[in-house]
Amino acid sequence: MAGIGNNLPRFVNMGDIVIGNGEERFSTVLGSCIAIMMYDPSKKMGAMAHILLPQRRTIGDDKIGKYADVAIPEMLEQLVKKGCAIRKIWAKLAGGAAMFNASSSFLIGEKNLVAAQEVLEKKSVPVLATHCGGTKGRRALFYPGSGKIIITINGEPEVEI
């Protein structure tokens, strides 16, 4: 499923943060989770995070990629370390569906989206596009070397955002 060298996109699991450029591709599958994709066009470098929840729990969890409030600063830090400039970075978001209306996931998708947007605004990172909400899962394919993003909902034509 994953990896450079076998021509398949690298799969980004829940809580992962990845950075890349060139010919790499990142893919993930989303329900109530959100994929945060950032891109610096001047460096042709991008990052993808797959967050589950809006805020980090207080009791020891060091997988910061799971939470919007800490994943986004971490993504920016990693991009800046690679030479990207924060003022040139943009973000796009996908996911946040309400999968089942009888559980917490009914609301958590929307909360994830709101949390991600708030943190990005605080960091002055413009959100150029979103493909969020609804009741269906999504597959996201991100080209970190070009910023291209393809979203597919099962049974529907793919769309570029």
Partner: protein
């Protein structure tokens, strides 16, 4: 139990195992009557696993699967999900309706799947309640099943979300189905809301 969450420890897992073996046996009997062919249901695993690993439970994350989901309320909260591939679901529908050759999820096919999930789930829960030593488990209120067809990982995110909010590992109970000795590609997942201890 702790509030609305089940506490994972060796004792509680053993209790679950006893309850679910009984549940699996009754579920097999109920399905045999419903479908008219001998079906057996076997407990496969009760194991806490890291959240990331749980996303492959139903095959490739981006493969579409079908899921009939019952939400459990009362003293014991969680979700019961009957998951199956399109092919397996259509075969089930064909067995029940006698109408061959369908390859789309119309109302009839969904209804056959939902009714099967309802019969299976209720037999499972009744047996579980009867065999449970703890009175905490004795009140389980299932919702009517709802039908979903989506990417496997999208569905699993929804199923495991409650656990992911409070723990890094998730607990699930998985069963395997056999019809006339042959394994079926159906999975019954029971996903309690849990706390680790």
């Amino acid at each position: 139990m702790s509030g609305n969450h089940y506490v994972i420890n060796s004792k509680s897992i053993k209790q679950l195992e006893i309850a679910f073996k009984q549940g699996a046996s009754e579920a097999g009997n109920a399905l045999t009557q419903w479908i008219g062919k001998p079906i057996s249901v076997h407990l496969d695993s009760i194991t806490p696993v890291p959240l990331g690993e749980s996303m492959n439970l139903l095959g490739q994350p981006d493969e579409p699967v079908c899921c009939c989901i019952m939400h459990l309320e009362g003293a014991f909260r969680g979700r019961l999900a009957l998951a199956f591939s399109d092919e397996s679901g259509m075969a089930l529908s064909e067995m029940l309706t006698g109408i061959p050759g369908s390859n789309e999820w119309g109302e009839l096919e969904k209804s056959a799947a939902l009714e099967s999930a309802n019969i299976l789930g209720c037999a499972f829960l009744n047996a579980m309640v009867q065999s449970a030593a703890s009175k905490d488990i004795a009140t389980v209120l299932p919702s009517p099943p709802s039908f979903h067809r989506d990417y496997a990982m999208s569905l699993l995110q929804g199923l495991f979300l409650e656990q992911a909010m409070i723990a890094d590992r998730v607990l699930f109970v998985r069963t395997q189905f056999f019809m006339e000795g042959k394994a079926l590609v159906w999975h019954l997942l029971f996903i309690p809301d849990t706390l680790e201890s």
